[in-house]
Symmetry: C2
Subunit: 363 residues, 2 copies
């Protein structure tokens, strides 16, 4: 796949202009663009501007409200439920995370479950808001059903990511940001574009058989939970995904399981929905609610240092600390620019024509 490099700022300006064309307030457009550009900077190409036209299509179908009245519908000192009023998850989740952080500042911790939202981008972005305040950040979302629980052929769960983010001292923060499926859908899309087969254990066929076909989902197959099969712990991946679904949706009043509305605009939501939109769960805990921040950071550094020094299986392949690859990508891309594949560039150019906006030229 050939790709073209774009400067962070020009891509950010374009992304903001798209959200403003949808009718978003300027502040909201800036926040939403920041989530997407952060994803592209961090090397998670599947969740950045590559999704922009998808958000626009959902808005065209009136499934995204560009001017939501985001509100707190239920609350205690340290918990809350937020209704996103069908807004962009890219805007609703930062609202909820801000609330969680405010509660943590007052009471030590804060937890916000969100209903009636849409796709929120990368979980890591939201969890890292807490890290900047010397807090531990949590972020989860449910998502369109693509994953079959152990022993079934039905897609009942999304790739339902969970993120835990921890501040460190000399070292950068530890950010565990992971789909609870064996492989995220983005990995299948890469194999599809390259016309390559995929490893066994990522997907199953429509009858639950093994498959190495990157297109298996198109013929009724499904993604498998982390662990891949029962013998290797797929019931644990299912349990984690179920945990995300319950905390984000059963707790907030969003849709769960097979009822989560699809991200793709060409698929309609199911009838008789049990909730509103999709759900998120955001949390923050003050480190100094447990021990002094400097002490914690010093031990985080000792933890990270010890793991980085571990004896590698192959000399050229050291232990990767969670969050490290994303930070390395960010350093490189802030300098050299963000690479977009030809397909994404074409998609964004078409979007710019449709919305009568200037699309930036590559580097």
């Amino acid at each position: 796949m050939s790709s073209l490099l774009f400067q962070e700022e020009s891509l950010r300006t374009f992304t903001e202009s798209v959200f403003i064309a949808m009718g978003c307030e300027e502040d909201d457009a800036a926040t939403a663009a920041d989530v997407l550009i952060s994803s592209d900077l961090r090397g998670i190409d599947s969740h950045g501007v590559a999704r922009l036209s998808g958000y626009v299509r959902l808005w065209e179908k009136e499934r995204i409200n560009p001017r939501p009245n985001i509100s707190v519908v239920h609350e205690t000192a340290t918990t809350a439920t937020v209704d996103g009023d069908s807004g962009l998850g890219l805007v609703v989740a930062p609202f909820a995370m801000k609330l969680a952080i405010e509660k943590a500042e007052k009471y030590g911790s804060g937890w916000v479950s969100v209903r009636n939202s849409n796709h929120f981008g990368i979980a890591g972005y939201h969890a890292m808001q807490a890290v900047q305040k010397d807090m531990i950040g949590f972020a989860m979302t449910n998502a369109s059903p693509l994953v079959a629980p152990t022993f079934t052929t039905e897609r009942l769960l999304g790739t339902n990511p969970m993120c835990y983010a921890f501040p460190a001292g000399e070292y950068p923060p530890v950010v565990v940001d992971m789909a609870t499926a064996a492989a995220a859908n983005g990995k299948l899309e890469i194999a599809q574009r390259l016309n390559k087969s995929i490893p066994e254990g990522w997907v199953q066929t429509n009858t639950g058989g093994p498959s190495t076909d990157a297109h298996a989902l198109k013929s009724g197959g499904s993604l498998l939970p982390l662990g891949s099969d029962r013998e290797h712990g797929s019931h644990k991946g299912f349990g984690l995904s179920a945990t995300v679904d319950i905390l984000t949706a059963v707790l907030s009043g969003a849709n769960y399981g097979p009822w989560v509305p699809p991200f793709v605009a060409f698929l309609d939501p199911l009838p008789d929905l049990p909730g509103k939109g999709i759900g998120h769960f955001l949390g923050a805990m003050r480190v100094d609610g447990f021990r002094p921040v400097e002490e914690f950071k010093q031990h985080m550094d000792q933890w990270i240092g010890r793991f980085k020094a571990a004896k590698p299986t192959h000399e050229d392949q050291k232990v990767i600390i969670p969050g490290e690859p994303e930070l390395e990508a960010e350093k490189i891309r802030k300098e050299a620019g963000i690479p977009l594949t030809d397909a994404v560039v074409r998609d964004l150019e078409e979007l710019s024509i449709k919305l009568d906006l200037d699309f930036p030229s590559g580097l």
Copy 2:
């Protein structure tokens, strides 16, 4: 393996008498016994009375303090750090969970990190304390290093379990209680006793190669994280295990990574420990901090019902809801008795002789 059945109450009385012989207060002995018997009732044989002689050996080595002064060393409205004073985790963790629940009652949520503790039994026991109060329960612990992170041959992490427990309505609670390794050590022990090989993806050799040898750990091998290899997401299993290690130990001041003291008494802790004992993390969130309890339970029932009704891969193998097998075991064993293998019975009989206690006869 042949086994003998024991009545719950007679096994409980014996277990209490062992803890009292160690010098525990009666209340503490009853609590500790309740955790172990609950594990046996729930079918998690590896974490019940089979471990009793292990606790005694740690006490003999003065690594378990039978009369701990468990104290809160740091606190906010909703967070706390507890020092277990080298007490039994079976006693320290219930103390910490009680504190988390009290904080949740007042402020919506409560979170307690624990240092200077020992093995706490099954995570599910502790998380379920919150469920009884219509709260969502969380429980994690770190453990002796047996698991090698992705790309290394060193054992740096325990099987570090995490548990999330949710109340339901008509259906029993959903309890996700899982080791973050591909397979818990107990599964290897079963294969060892049966002289059987294990599936690839559970362990690696001392050089990081694949292995199906149930004895691989004895020759320098290690358990693998959930996901088994990089291609199938072992970096996610590593990330989850790291999350547990940080929340339980870096946050509390316990030992982490390779410094976690071994459960087996014949191995001494490493020199220059960075913390005290092992660490736990317990949490509780009031359901009605987010939405009315009855509404939540109604949707939990709809969630569970939908997943139970999913089309199975094989007709005789339905979706298993997390927590369901343990509850079924409990129903059967409360009625028919708890089966103990000959090896465990012999071990307990020897213990009874050593401590001059009556060992109950089987059914």
